[in-house]
Amino acid sequence: MIDKETLPRLPVDQAEWNALEAEFGPRMWAVARAFGLSAADAADAVQAAWLRLVESIDRIRDPARIGAWLVTTTRHEALLLCRKGRAVTPTHSPPEPGEADAGDPALAVLSADEARRLWRAVDALDEPCRTLLRLLVTAPESGYARIAARLGLPIGSVGPMRGRCLGRLRKLVEAER
């Protein structure tokens, strides 16, 4: 869980910076990819977040939030890439260091325990949600056309069905709690 920070202070040397990357780099990558970015675009979104940390580290007052801030900033950069196609103007602003909320419930799902719980819930879903979510997760670049063909659905229904299936998944997980 992100609220169980293993790095309660700002990294002061390369080893601590590496530890920060080891802890949050995989989550940042997963978030960027979850917005549907290609590998190249996701790499840029993740690198942008690290560079925003380079620029902002002197202004971070609460080191416990640094991981949440990195994930939030990755999401911010990924959204910019999604919304502008491939173009990014330099005039956008990353989140302020104090803005990241380590208690954000959306961030709480990015943990190993929560992932296991989510996969158990996926297995409990009916079709076509079970297969749709598996395809979205394990073959993110296969595209809606292939997913539609695989499931025998009109391509236009994949997006709405994705939303419905993720909604069911969330309800299942919440009911489990």
Partner: protein
């Protein structure tokens, strides 16, 4: 269910499945970013610059302006043969000790320039990618522009 919630759920599933791990190059670049820290430096933030109306060629220079208290850094980028030419000007603050020193930084290299009396500087043939300009002045904190990705800037704003 919001777009954010959906993305985070998918991200969590992807982490749990162990598919699509972050490439080693992405991790290495993130770790290498530590060397780019500039303790005590002031970040100059981008400010909008009015652009002439009408169609433009991607090869035309593009001006980007970054501002910090008592410092403005103008950076004009031109794409040429797959490389980037940088021309710029620093203004603001006391110049008693001269115009100082400019460092144009990419993720792996840096180019040092000494601005003219009017604050102008230039460098040619830089690699396309992330870039930042740092202005060092005697007795004052360094001023560094936000990092910008020149690979994407050429497609921006149009």
């Amino acid at each position: 269910m919001s777009e954010f919630d959906e993305a985070y759920l998918l991200a969590a599933l992807r982490l749990g499945a162990g598919v699509d791990p972050a490439p080693l190059a992405v991790s290495a670049a993130a770790r290498a970013a530590y060397a780019l820290l500039l303790p005590g430096a002031v970040t100059a933030r981008p400010v909008p610059v009015s652009r002439p109306a009408g169609a433009r060629s991607p090869a035309e220079p593009r001006l980007h302006r970054f501002a910090a208290p008592d410092a403005t850094i103008d950076v004009e980028l031109t794409h040429a043969d797959g490389r980037i030419d940088v021309a710029g000007q620093v203004t603001g603050g006391p110049w008693d000790e001269g115009p100082g020193r400019i460092e144009i930084r990419t993720l792996h290299d840096r180019w040092v320039r000494f601005p003219t009396e009017t604050g102008h500087f230039a460098a040619t043939g830089l690699p396309v990618g992330w870039l930042s300009v740092v202005w060092y002045r005697a007795g004052l904190p360094a001023v560094a522009t936000r990092w910008m990705n020149t690979r994407r800037l050429d497609e921006a704003d149009d």
